[in-house]
């Protein structure tokens, strides 16, 4: 499976999903015009990846400065997808990276964490 690599723009994050390294990274701003459309390739990649993933450790890393409400919905969907795999016994964890001074990003991370149970979701201040 080929790695998915999308460069960032002023309103969309960079995306780097790599099956070989079992790492998925999203970094930057996220207020696309149409969040569902922007994230469609990432969701498609992820679905295929999860269907082939075994029990090896996989990490998804978010480092998002600001995201709008429609992005929030996409992120929740992604996290629910990951959690469903964890329930099946897979070893996936999420890192939520944020600037120690970005109170909003920290709070948003906490709100995702509150809505998850078996998916490991760690807020990391950088």
């Amino acid at each position: 499976m080929q790695a998915l690599s999308i460069a960032n723009t002023q309103s969309t994050p960079s995306i780097y999903f790599d099956q070989a390294a079992n790492v998925m990274i999203m970094k930057g701003e996220s207020f696309p015009e149409n969040a569902a459309k922007f994230y469609a390739p990432a969701m498609e990649w992820l679905q295929e990846y999860l269907s082939t993933l075994g029990t090896e450790k996989a990490v998804m890393q978010f480092e998002i400065i600001y995201f709008n409400s429609s992005t929030s919905k996409i992120f929740m969907t992604i996290l629910d997808m990951l959690q469903a795999e964890v329930e099946k016994g897979k070893n996936i964890s999420v890192l939520w990276l944020c600037d120690a001074e970005n109170e909003t990003a920290i709070e948003c991370g906490e709100e995702f964490k509150e809505d998850l149970n078996c998916l490991s979701f760690e807020i990391v201040l950088v």
């Binding site: 002023q10 309103s11 015009e33 709008n68 409400s69 929030s72 919905k73 629910d80 109170e103």
Partner: protein, 184 residues
């Protein structure tokens, strides 16, 4: 003087307006204006959380206009690069900021919008948070470009209940205004 620009400038100053955008909005204009606004808020020394809340309300308001304004720029039929017209104003208010947005809506859509806004206005922060979380796990309407979370997000960032009005323009349209206050 053309456009009586000095009067306009004085009026805006008198109303403590620090930012004003009126006209067609495309996604590219949101990106550009958002960068400018961020810089302005830095100069204002608003504090991180206040600045982020103002920025967030502003972005949701601009995207609401882009998604829902009834005033479209014709000839751009393609759903992804059409322009829609509205106005966004940011100003100082007591110890914080007000963020206003306005655009034309179809009269038929007013009652649905009122229901949504009244529901949100009647909620405290905890209830708004619960509603936001519930809605973000719900499937959104396939024809919608947004997630239907924008108004809730604005209410959550505001320090007072959202205010709104509908001013009748003609038999078909009204001018819809939303006012959000973000305290420091």
């Amino acid at each position: 003087m053309e456009l009586e620009l000095y009067d306009f400038y004085q009026q805006a100053k008198g109303k403590n307006i620090i930012f004003y955008y009126c006209g067609p909005i495309a996604h590219a204009s949101i990106e550009g204006v958002a960068q400018t606004l961020r810089k302005n808020l830095e100069y204002e020394e608003a504090g991180n959380l206040t600045a982020q809340s103002v920025f967030s309300v502003f972005t949701e308001q601009m995207q609401n206009i882009l998604n829902y304004s009834a005033e479209r720029i014709p000839k751009t039929e393609a759903a992804d690069n059409e322009l829609r017209v509205g106005v966004v104003v940011i100003g100082h208010e007591k110890n914080g900021y007000f963020i206003l947005c306005g655009n034309k809506v179809c009269n038929d859509d007013i009652s649905g919008l009122k229901d949504k806004l009244e529901l949100i206005r009647g909620m405290n922060k905890e209830e708004l948070k619960a509603l936001y979380k519930e809605r973000r796990r719900m499937d959104s309407a396939p024809e919608s470009k947004g997630a239907g979370l924008g108004l809730i997000e604005m209410a959550r960032k505001g320090t007072e209940p959202i205010e709104y009005s509908f001013l009748p323009i003609d038999g078909e349209h009204s001018f819809f205004t939303i006012r959000v206050v973000v305290g420091r």
